[in-house]
Symmetry: C2
């Protein structure tokens, strides 16, 4: 059995090496690659991904997993060995259900659709991408249908990002959230808006960059095992537990862009850096789900990074770096600026209160499109209607409406968006647990100390990698299931105080 487990690990590490190399090709493409590298790079990435997929779906892996079943059953559920076999089997069974020809067809279509969208969005031309999106919807349905027996057609697609979550439960959670969120948004936006002019002065790039590094280093992102580079669309990627890289973009006329983006990505990065190094090179190394991953980026970006305590420590440092811009701006003015709530068009620019309304809309539309209740043709009108109802503003065009996000155009429909709001909910749930276990965390944050919080997250969440499913992890950490109450409490406390509600 030990021999078979060793053989499985050897095979998995080889696959992981191919995947890591593909990730480096991708990182390089988004950071340093000269334009002339593009055609060959697409081919090289496709080759590595295909080889990794071929090796993973090889019948030899299935045989090893079968042979190892008694070993798995005899070992404790959360032992590294049983977990490795269990999680690998789950991935394997998912992978072999999808025929390679379909994988290739979907992959080719995604590239073509992305190209069409990249031209259609600036041209505000939904008609141009409509046939692509219709095919994406068809392919997404076909993908789901490789997993018969689902309760809702979106379930197998949600599984890819947030394993074990179902359309029905997410829908119920989101409905509950919406019910509580809408009055909060209404109450806040009835007040005079906060003034964020202080963030919209000119802040030279080099100093913004240096300050961002200083902040995330103090949060606990490890630069011995990572680095930050510039990228047009920030992301986090990992090539091993010892090499987890973040990216950011800097706007000289918007201080928040790089700062909160950097903290956001560092949250993803600390999660990956915190996985136990014994799990290196196996399917257990990595975050367990899109929602849990997003809980970490949002926890550090928002719950910590937009708190008053955090800025009690960091604001004087920021004023030192930008005296001309901030010397005369009070901490309280700055704090209100970075927490300005407003109804806005673009999801990625939205504040933490209205942000979820953007997600809920997209999630509902994914379900309706998959159900056949909404056609791609009717999507732009449906978007405008729902957006106006939710936000009180009508998108002036499709560019900043239904065309704004890359997800459907370069990916699939179903499972693309729920992770963001699940992450917001979980960020508050986890943070509440952390501060209950260590009430000193809040005062430590005011002193620029983050190790108690970081260590608690590492201990409770990061170290396990993919050993536990999202539900198992939430249960272990919080003693109960996913629950919106802490998040609502967090929003009410914070924004109630800010807006005197």
């Amino acid at each position: 059995m030990k021999t078979k487990l060793k053989e499985l690990k050897t095979r998995l590490t080889e696959i992981n090496d191919l995947e890591s190399a593909a990730a480096l090709l991708d990182w390089d493409q988004n950071t340093y690659m000269p334009p002339g590298g593009a055609p060959a790079r697409a081919r090289q990435t496709a080759t590595l991904e295909r080889l990794a997929h071929e090796k993973f779906t090889d019948a030899g892996i299935g045989k090893l997993l079968d042979d190892l079943r008694p070993y798995e059953e005899s070992a404790p559920y959360d032992s590294d060995e049983a977990s490795l076999i269990r999680v690998t089997r789950r991935d394997y069974e998912r992978a072999i259900k999808v025929p390679p020809a379909f994988v290739a067809e979907f992959s080719d279509h995604r590239s073509a659709s992305f190209q069409a969208w990249a031209e259609a969005r600036p041209a505000n031309d939904f008609a141009k991408v409509r046939p692509y999106l219709e095919k994406t919807l068809d392919l997404s349905r076909r993908l789901a249908n490789f997993f018969p027996g689902y309760e809702h057609i979106a379930d197998p697609l949600i599984d890819y990002a947030d394993y074990g979550m179902k359309a029905s439960t997410v829908r119920a959670t989101f409905a509950e959230l919406r019910e509580q969120l809408v009055p909060i948004v209404q109450a806040i936006t009835a007040q005079p808006p906060a003034d964020d002019a202080c963030l919209r002065q000119t802040f030279p790039e080099a100093q913004q960059w240096a300050f961002g590094l200083e902040v995330v280093k103090r949060l606990g992102y490890d630069f011995e095992r990572g680095r930050q580079d510039k990228a047009p669309h920030p992301f986090t990627t990992e090539f091993s537990i010892g090499d987890v890289r973040i990216t950011t973009r800097v706007k000289e006329n918007n201080l928040g862009e790089a700062l909160f983006g950097t903290m956001h990505e560092s949250g993803h990065g600390m999660y990956e850096q915190g996985v136990r190094t014994d799990l290196e090179g196996t399917p257990l190394a990595g975050g367990t789900s899109s929602g849990v991953h997003e809980s970490q980026s949002r926890l550090w970006e928002n719950v910590v990074g937009r708190s008053r305590g955090f800025w009690r420590f960091f604001y004087p440092r920021l004023q030192d770096i930008f005296p001309d811009q901030l010397e005369d701006v009070e901490l309280e003015t700055f704090y209100r600026a970075i927490n300005k709530v407003e109804r806005s068009l673009i999801r990625t620019d939205a504040d933490e209160v209205t942000y979820n309304l953007h997600i809920l809309l997209r999630f509902d539309f994914e379900l309706r499109l998959l159900e056949g209740d909404l056609t791609v043709r009717d999507l732009p009108d449906a978007w405008r209607e729902r957006f106006s109802a939710d936000m009180g503003i009508i998108p002036p065009d499709d560019r900043d409406g239904v065309l704004q996000d890359i997800h459907w155009y370069a990916g699939g429909i179903g499972g693309a968006f729920q992770g963001y709001t699940l992450g917001n909910i979980l960020s508050a749930q986890f943070f509440e647990q952390a501060t209950q276990a260590h009430p000193e965390i809040e005062s430590e944050i005011e002193a620029g100390k983050f190790s108690t919080l970081h260590n608690w997250l590492k201990e409770s969440i990061y170290q396990h990698g993919r050993k536990y499913t999202p539900s198992e992890l939430v249960e272990r950490v919080t003693g109960g299931p996913l629950n919106i109450e802490p998040y609502i409490r967090y929003l009410c406390d914070k924004y109630g105080e800010l807006y005197g509600l």
Copy 2:
């Protein structure tokens, strides 16, 4: 036949994709990788190289090559098709002769030996690496012996770098060169040395960097299909014909380091960028040999980059960038400084005249070690003795003597050094041809125009990639074999004038 050729190409492109990804892993390791990435990176690179080797030595490749023999014989020798089959067969037959277990053993030993050397060199401790070097010698002999029927045991090893060259011919060429070179060196070093103090002021890194980019852009290195990054040991690497990258290192107290290093690497880079794009992804894409590659780096670095005409154009630009340092330094003083000849300890710091003496010593020692005429134990003494005889200075220690170069300690013995001097010889041979065909080249250089020279090199050499062997290429381009006369003429003209000989 067309189908089989297509199948061969498909397989070769897949192998090339793996090799290119391995090259990117290596580039990243030498430029941006955080320290924590090292352990996994070694494993990932090894995996990709192993998979590429497995796929290339697969019997299916051999079968295709056999099946394609009639097709090859019916097509013109220098057609893309015949060349692809011929060069692939040559690589394949070499690859399959070496057992995978031996490849792995040598590879593991090289890593261990490199580690030992990295500690032994700063400690000046030859005894520490001696057993490693003895094993390297043994492995190098065993490698050669997988190719029985050689004339000299070094021949199969020379073949890896400079296909078709033999120890006997290289030895004869080098003996002839030595005979002519030694009196030149003696005559020059009998004169008062040139003053290069002007190069040893403080030159801020950012301006050095910008000037280097400006120079190589004008030479014709294409930044749409390449980029420059910093690396501790500069190198050039390619991930496709559209993505060929150079690296450099900057010393603020030595203006020559980055400047000539950048031009040197750009020569390698322009060669790779100039390969015909139809050859992309095949074994034909790339430089044909170590010597021809080096001829391009040395041609641009030395023949062009250390010429008076070149600096007639660029020196005023350089003075503009560094007015405090160079305003009062005459062009002629600068020209003499960058062409200072002196007997020195370190190969990589040597001027273009004495440089070859460093190589000749190493080449001779490689042959003697392989022949058994010299033991590793006796190597340090032999080095001191020969070095004193050739250079008139005795190395004070092994660190700057037999331990100075990485090649034997991280590679093999045999074939490691001859390419550098072959490159010097060829740089003059090619340049002479270019100026015979286009006498305007010299005056164009003085006007900062390099396109006639660059286009001639592209047309004559670069575009063909590995289609011709080094000897075939030299014959095609110069109408005769490798010949030291143009190089000797070049040195005599230039240094005769400089030192009034």
